[in-house]
Every structure is written in C-alpha cells, then in structure tokens.
Amino acid sequence: MIDFHLEPRSGVAPYMQLVHQVQQALRLGMLDVGDQLPTVKQVVAKIAINPNTVLKAYRELERQGLVAPQPGRGTFVTATLADASLDAHAELGTALQQWIATARAAGLDDAAIRALFDTTIRKAPR
C-alpha cells in the first residue's frame, strides 16, 4: 500500500501533494489497477492531517478518473497513468524546451524564467 507524507513548506496545497504522490506512484508502478488506497483513518493516523484533506485528495483523484470508491470496501485504483499521457509528456517537453530557448535568448536567466512560469501558472484559468 502507498505511504503518504506531507511537506508543510512546499507551497503546494496538502491535498494536491497527496494527489501528486498517487500519480507518481502510478507512474513508477508502485500502484496498479485494482490496488486499494489506504482508508482516511489509516492515512491520518500515520500523518497527522485533517481527514477532509484526504477526502479532498481522493475526490480529486476520482475526478481525474484514476480511482473509484467502492461503498463499504474502500477506494481502489481504476486506471494507470496511461501511455497516452506519456506521449503528451514528450510533446509538451519538446515545446517547453523551445520556449525556454526563446526566453534565454530574450535575456531571462533561470530564476526569472521560473518566476514568470510560477506567476503565469497561478493566473492561468483552469
């Protein structure tokens, strides 16, 4: 079963951290279709966080189509991060490299690029 952890100062919302950890586990093969996620009670007993945070994370994962609750039995993984998304990663990675090259040519250093990226992604509509 997956073990969660919380990084309080990462700037990422706690529930998102849990979501990312599940996604990472799926990518690395630590979680597979049919595996059960720990119950809310189990998670909060390990890392002392608000149970609502766990519920929020599991709801987000459900929204992304990665998990599904089975009433009375728990929450189970229903999909891996499929190759389709891996393809998307490759394409996006190439586009990003080009953009970074453009930014550097315009005179931005790495820190400026990161700052611009952070501000933009925060403002970007969902």
């Binding site: 706690p14 007993a45 002392a48």
Partner: protein, 297 residues
C-alpha cells in the same frame, strides 16, 4: 449537521477590571477542525472555557450546538473538553479514570475506551500522576472522546509536549475525528500544527477576534502586494489594507479582499497562513491601525 457548533454574539468576559474577552462574534459551522491561535493572554482559554460551560459570560451570548453550554447532562454529554495541563486525578489509576468516565457519562463507550488505551500502550493499573505529559494528554483525549461527543474542545493540548508526543497526540486526534465524525476546536500557538490539521481558523489577540473563517477561503482572500512606492496608494473598493510596509522605493501591503471577486492587482501574490496570522497579530498589537514602518534602505 446544520447547527453551527459554536455561535457567539458580542461575547464578553471580565474579571474585575481585567477584560479577558471583548465582544467576540463567531459563527463556526459543524464538521470542522477549528484552530484558535493567538498570543498568551489573548483570551483563548477564556473563550474555550465559555464554550465548555465552565464559566459564564459577563455579557453577550454564546451557544454551543444550539444550546447554552453545560446547561444540563445532555448538553455536557455532547461536548468533550480537555483543559490546559490536562488535569487528571493523580491518585487514581488509568483504569479508574475509565471507570470515572463510565459512571459519569450515560453515553460512554467502554469498549472503545479500553481499545484505545490498549492501542496507546497505557498500563491500566498505573497511577495517572505517574504518566508522562504525552500519556496524560492521550488519556485525557480518550476520556473526552469515549462519551462520543459531537464537539471536542482542547486548550493548548500539545503545548507542553515534546515533538514526538505532540505528533503522536495529533495522529491520535485525527484518527478519532475520522472515526467519530466529531467537530474539534483546539487552541495552539504552533501555526505549523494548525496548518496541518485545521480547516477553520480564529485569530484572537488583545481579547478580540481579529479574523475568522475557513482557512481555504481566508488564504484565497488575502494577498501580499508588492509595488513601487506610491503606486499602491489607492486600492479598489472592498480591498482592505491589513498592514503596510514602506521603504523609500517599495511598498508592501497585506490586503484582505472582501469583494467576493478574484483580485486583479499587479504585484499581488498569495500569502502563507503563518504570515497572514502574524500580520493580524502585529496589527492587534498596534491597537487596530495598520503598521506603518519607514525603513531607510
């Protein structure tokens, strides 16, 4: 669960000349874990004691779960309270304390209590006076929770505990909340714990409520705005300045966006919970006016 767990209306408590709590007005929905933060002497213990019904208000009104606190046996059964320093009967054993709970609470769940004590590894025969700080806190938590209340109130439960005991207490508490579906109000001066565990916040300073609300909403509505000096002198309506710092070239504002719409201001960024709380505490110290600091560059 539609009744707010706590509703206060200009709640005031005075001890002779000293005012411990001034006109506190609060409306806390059910199902939350509420963090009550503020410096020592701010009125946190007073507010919690009023909520638990241990003391009565000087003026104003307070309702817990829709009732006057500690009005009768049923009201007491619905609210579990652990006071600061987790008082226990030093001469009674752990098991005696469970018996105490059983005799004094008609809604007591003995099996649940015994299970938890076993899980925590507490020796039932040990005198409570000989338990460590962390163990006392766990015992007090068990006693408060085993009557299956709808609300648990803790006054600085982890203040005197070492980091390991503190984490163990919070783990235990969160597990209880997940299992019992109970609302919690806990006071703390460790904002890190509050960030981890709470979803609703009350900031208390100088005996007044400085700000209160769901943490997600508060964080979404507070911003740090940085801009060149002089460009931030006028702000849109509904954007309140909580604090302002100026150097000769730069202005930094902490603002509260009460418009209900997203803030569209150049140089506005998010602010962390700790900084937001500290801003309000600084403001309270300055007796209500935004702090203005001229810093020579």
């Amino acid at each position: 669960m539609n009744t707010p767990v706590l509703r206060a209306d200009t709640l005031t408590k005075r001890y002779g000349k000293h005012t411990a709590l001034t006109e506190a007005t609060l409306d806390i929905p059910a199902g939350r874990i509420v963090g009550l933060v503020g410096p020592n002497g701010a009125g946190k213990s007073t507010l919690l004691a009023l909520a638990a019904g241990l003391i009565r208000p000087t003026s104003g009104h307070i309702e817990v779960l829709g009732r006057t606190p500690a009005a009768d046996s049923a009201a007491l059964a619905d609210v579990g309270f652990v006071a600061q320093d987790t008082p226990v009967y030093a001469g009674l054993s752990v098991d005696d304390h469970l018996k105490l709970g059983e005799h004094l609470n008609p809604t007591w769940d003995g099996a649940f209590a015994r299970d938890r004590i076993a899980q925590l590894g507490l020796d039932p025969a040990k005198k409570a006076g000989r338990l460590s700080g962390g163990q006392k806190a766990q015992l007090a938590l068990t006693i408060a929770a085993a009557k299956r209340p709808r609300l648990l109130i803790f006054d600085e439960p982890v203040a005197a505990l070492d980091p390991l005991a503190r984490r163990a207490f919070l783990q235990n508490l969160m597990e209880l909340v997940a299992e019992l579906d109970v609302s919690v109000i806990l006071s703390s001066h460790l904002i890190g714990d509050v960030e981890r565990v709470c979803d609703h916040l009350i900031v208390l300073a100088e005996s007044r409520v400085q700000v209160a609300g769901d943490i997600d909403d508060l964080l979404a509505a507070h911003h740090r705005v940085v801009g060149p000096r002089g460009t931030l002198d006028t702000l849109p309506d509904g954007v309140q300045v909580i604090a302002a710092d100026h150097t000769d070239r730069q202005t930094t504002l902490i603002v509260h966006n009460t418009t209900g719409r997203p803030l569209d201001l150049p140089g506005a960024d998010t602010i962390g919970l700790e900084d937001m709380v500290l801003t309000y505490l600084h403001r309270a110290e300055g007796i209500g006016t935004p702090t203005l600091q001229e810093t020579r560059a």
